[in-house]
Amino acid sequence: MAFDQPACHTCESTLVSRLFCFSCNALQPFPREMDFFEVLGFPVSFEIKSSELEERYQELSLELHPDFYGLAPEAEKLLSETASAILNTAYKTLREPTLRASYLLHLQATKQKLDERSLPEGFLAEMFFLQEELDELLGSGNAVDLSAMREDMQNRKKDIEADYAPLFKKHEEQPEDSGILQQLQTHLNAERYLRRLLERIPAAD
């Protein structure tokens, strides 16, 4: 599954994206198993410049669009549709930090079994308490306190997200330390609960 820079099947130029050749504009027959990084043509790493990701997505999106394969043979039409769908899924996953972190963790945690329920000490009890408090705030319609809680939770979520990059970097530098990936899993678990809580708080007007 490693992307060892395959060549275009038409002109043999090095492929940037596994789906499409920018040199000769040929759709590529792609393997069933690809990772989202090779779909978009980025190294497998957490750090991605969002402007570059956006640009690459737009380029590929345009090239793969089924509308441009209207007169092409059936097989190619189908390929462009499938490629577009995969492209969209890959893009959605890589552009959002938590989805990207979760996906990358899944790719990299091959040598260890992660505890998928791990949470920081006391976190679950705190979440339960906050959910109860939220029930009360929603019942009383206290907009000020609701807004304060929303801001609090968003900040905590941001703090967690800010940790993804340094942890992945640490893992790259110390791949033998199995605790680092577990820390990431714990972060992602915590983020999920915070997100659920936030979903219940109505957005500020």
Binding site: E116, R117, L119, L124, A125, M127, F128, Q131, E132, L188, N189, R192, Y193, R195, R196, L197
Partner: protein, 128 residues
């Protein structure tokens, strides 16, 4: 998502929502969570110190209808059972009773975990 009639019943009229006194030695409290969906479930049991039978149970769940129904059902089922009997409640029985679809099976697992956590808490606080 189509909920079964029983899930809808438990969701609209949940049995045993509430709290027991956490500090009471005859009470066991289980707090469990499912990170895949962020559900949080608290289940408490009141144990008769003489007969060791569970005489009351309460729950509070923040989650989807299936999670609420699973924990509501769990509190119904543990009442009148001995601790050992309650320990042997399987999530598969909850799945069957509520006709839970595959994507909601984890809710029943959470309810089974909550029962076990409550019992474990009771036991650890009553080790003489």
């Amino acid at each position: 998502m189509a909920y079964s009639e029983k899930v809808i019943d438990h969701y609209s009229e949940p049995r045993n929502v509430g709290s027991l006194d956490k500090s009471d030695l005859n009470v066991g409290t289980g707090l469990v969570g499912a990170p895949e969906c962020g559900d949080v479930m608290k289940l408490q049991i009141q144990v008769d110190p003489e007969t060791k039978e569970i005489v009351d149970a309460k729950f509070k769940t923040f989650g989807c209808g299936s999670a609420i129904a699973s924990s509501s059902l769990a509190t119904e089922w543990v009442k009148g059972k001995s601790i050992d009997e309650a320990m042997s409640i399987q999530n598969t029985e909850i799945v069957e009773e509520l006709s839970l679809p595959p994507v909601k099976i984890h809710c029943s697992v959470l309810a089974e975990d909550a029962i076990k956590a409550a019992i474990s808490d009771y036991k650890s606080r009553n080790e003489n």
